[in-house]
Symmetry: C2
Subunit: 455 residues, 2 copies
């Protein structure tokens, strides 16, 4: 063993040779770094996830916290600087990660069962958008606000802050529901359904806020048309897809080349994500629709099984990237400059949590675990980050207000997974057929994903 | 159906709205385009591969030709321009594709069996490097050469051309061997072994040629050190890995988080690829070593099965990118400006094919399908492209000579798959235990990869 270590040291000492220069001359220096960074992201994410699962927390929380440590403000391994060529590539991996995740959620979604909770999901989504929005506006118009953090008038900034408080990160919640193995419960369906509606509403809001920032006036017609396109895409894509996909995929299934079924499914999900984006919706909505469409094919089982490894190599990049966005220095309470930022961030955090939590009580006509549904809507994740970023770019937010919003976004994202697990453990889940809640422990193992040992 | 099409047309007409502008404002326009481009690359590759397999050709040939059609000189869908932000991302996907492919080849490689053909592989590699190298130098010093295509003296250019003629693309050949299902034959082992040695020799040559271009003089010590590092990395990585990996992976196998085994294997292969690059070897050599190391673990079966879908979404990007490098306008014989380029390209092509083909006869002490081994060494693929690119960047080659080398590289890459299939069909394969060749038809089905229908 000692001899081997000695040889390794020798090899490392010899490394900077003409040959190393030659490989750098090939322009592959950034590729080498990318491979290292990706390997570290994946290993840190999985090992941290394992640690959190062992101490009884959802694995995704471990991935988020691993991201905080690998981020620019601590170890600086995950690139975030705009002038770093790796930043864009890591961003692409993260984006593919979240669309593949939503595709998986779509695959696991039974459209009929989703329709059965449709009215409930709509109520949860509406309450969960209105309460935080109103709360945010009122907060910024109250004496608690810090006008020096805003670059426009209080109304515009208030509406903008309200908008950042609305959208639920379906990605985070879906991962926790997957981790807990409760994806088929009534609660999970309500949360996923409401989160998707939330995303549609959030994108409409984003369009309106952008119009407002540009100084244009809003018309009822513009609002209606935006909403029509977003909803129209979802309805049209799913109904057309359900009509055509089973025939197309049964032809593809008869092909002989290796992996054609998986590759076709993966290409279809990318295509739908891009199409959704072009139609003015979000890529994740398109990917979710693609999953629902393919859940209606006969090749569903094979697709679901084969997409898992692909999801496994992309999705951790997404969760660690979100964690990496947090500048931990902002959280230092001993730095007096941080006090107002921390205070605003905490205020927004409280509004964000209470507003969504209350939405769990928006459905009066059924029995289910209400606090779990409310908590499931809490994480803001990537959608909140996108909103905050636009505000910073368009000169609505100062870096301080941006920091406060980040504290709210990351805070909601970090508290939701453990709270959701606790809530499901305490209140139980409602199965699709059962009338009354059952304890989590009876359900979870049957749904979990074996890490190995398949035939 | 008509109504649905009408609704789709309406949706598309409505698409360029404030909301679309909002999604563009998020800076995700390039992401949308990437999703479209990736989907087209994957679908075109698989469907073209299927078509070629139906007409009795290897699927990889279909992917290469699909790449030619999607390339800049025909449809322009695969980005190649240096100022296009997608070019780098597609390049990264292609690079991950080829390292995952070589990892798979490593997984399927039995180290003991490889050692048994070691002496033979060394002979094949040496002859296959020396003959094309000498042929290339002689060609460029003969009256057939076009000195106006060269920017340095004839000797330097000749050595450079000789170097571009040496390296075998183990990626292309490995895919054909996979497609034919003959990976476990003596011939396949000889080819893979020789191709890996070729790559090591090729990188040493690249270092030497770069030194030459820089105007420095070569010393025996520098050559020896370069070779020592390249070989040392491979030996050290594999022996250390075989010692440690089984213990580490049996610990990882006991972890509970989803996909931890696959993710650890994928991270390990990226890490080894990066390490190989830092040590002055090529990323694919590191990935191949990673595969060999993990083939010695108890988790081998699960890893092999789970990495397949990951390879399926990355490797087509690699093969289509190679095809996309061909400018088909160079092949137009009616353009008089093309005549000298075509002539030089054809000359280099003949030297490239004959030199490697002859290498099949370099092993006198065994019975096997010699022409298959020779043909298996013919494709130059990505390694040839890297060499040619360095020549262009360092001002050794004019664009015309670069074009001629490209014709040689793509030509050898396109003829090898059908010739290899023909040769295995005619001359049969030699099994690891059998003494005499068996027809291909008896072997291939048992090795093929089921596209669906697993439990």
């Amino acid at each position: 063993m000692k001899r081997l270590v000695g040889a390794a040291a020798l090899l490392l000492a010899l490394a900077p040779t003409p040959l190393f220069a030659a490989s750098a001359a090939q322009g592959d220096g950034s590729l080498t770094r990318l491979f290292f960074v990706l390997a570290v992201i994946l290993l840190a994410g999985k090992f941290s996830g394992e640690l959190f699962e062992r101490i009884g927390q959802p694995a995704v929380l471990g991935e988020l916290i691993a991201g905080v440590f690998l981020g620019a403000s601590v170890l600086g391994i995950i690139p975030t600087a705009a002038d770093d060529s790796l930043t864009e590539i890591i961003h692409v991996f993260a984006e593919i990660g979240v669309v593949v995740l939503l595709f998986e959620v779509g695959l696991e979604t039974d459209l009929k069962q989703l329709f059965r909770v449709g009215r409930g999901a709509m109520s949860v989504a509406t309450v969960g958008v209105v309460l935080p929005m109103v709360g945010g506006i009122l907060f910024w118009m109250s004496p608690l606000a810090r006008p020096e953090f805003s670059l426009t008038d209080a109304t515009t900034t208030g509406i903008f802050i309200g908008a950042t408080l609305t959208a639920t990160s379906v990605g985070i919640t879906a991962r926790v529901l997957q981790d807990l193995g409760v994806m088929h419960s009534i609660e999970a369906r309500l949360i996923i359904g409401a989160a998707v509606i939330d995303d549609v509403l959030g994108l409409v809001l984003l369009g309106l806020v952008s119009t407002l920032i540009a100084g244009s006036t809003l018309t009822v017609f513009a609002v209606g048309r935006s909403l029509g396109i977003a909803v129209g895409f979802l309805v049209l894509a799913i109904s057309l897809g359900l009509l055509i996909a089973p025939k197309v995929f049964s032809v593809i299934d008869r092909m002989r080349v290796r992996g054609v079924l998986l590759v076709a499914a993966f290409a279809f999900l990318l295509f739908m994500a891009a199409l959704a984006s072009v139609a003015g919706s979000a890529p994740i909505i398109g990917a979710f629709a693609a999953g629902i469409v393919l859940s209606g094919t006969n090749q569903f089982d094979t697709i679901e099984k084969r997409i898992k490894p692909v999801a496994d190599v992309f999705t951790p990049v997404f969760f660690l990237s979100i964690g990496a966005a947090l500048d931990v220095r902002l959280l230092n309470p001993f730095n007096p400059a941080n006090a107002p930022v921390l205070f605003i961030g905490l205020g927004l955090f409280v509004i964000a949590v209470l507003g969504k939590f209350a939405a769990g009580w928006a459905v009066p006509w059924r029995k289910f675990n209400r606090s779990a549904v409310g908590i499931g809507m809490v994480p803001r994740g990537e959608v909140g980050l996108i909103f905050a970023n636009i505000g910073l770019m368009n000169g609505v937010l100062t870096p301080e207000l941006f920091g406060a919003i980040l504290i709210m976004v990351i805070g909601t994202t970090l508290v939701a997974p453990p709270l959701l697990k606790w809530s499901f453990g305490r209140g139980g889940i409602t199965g699709p057929l059962e009338a009354r809640p059952v304890p989590l422990s009876e359900i979870r193992d049957s749904e979990s994903y074996p890490s190995s040992g398949e035939p």
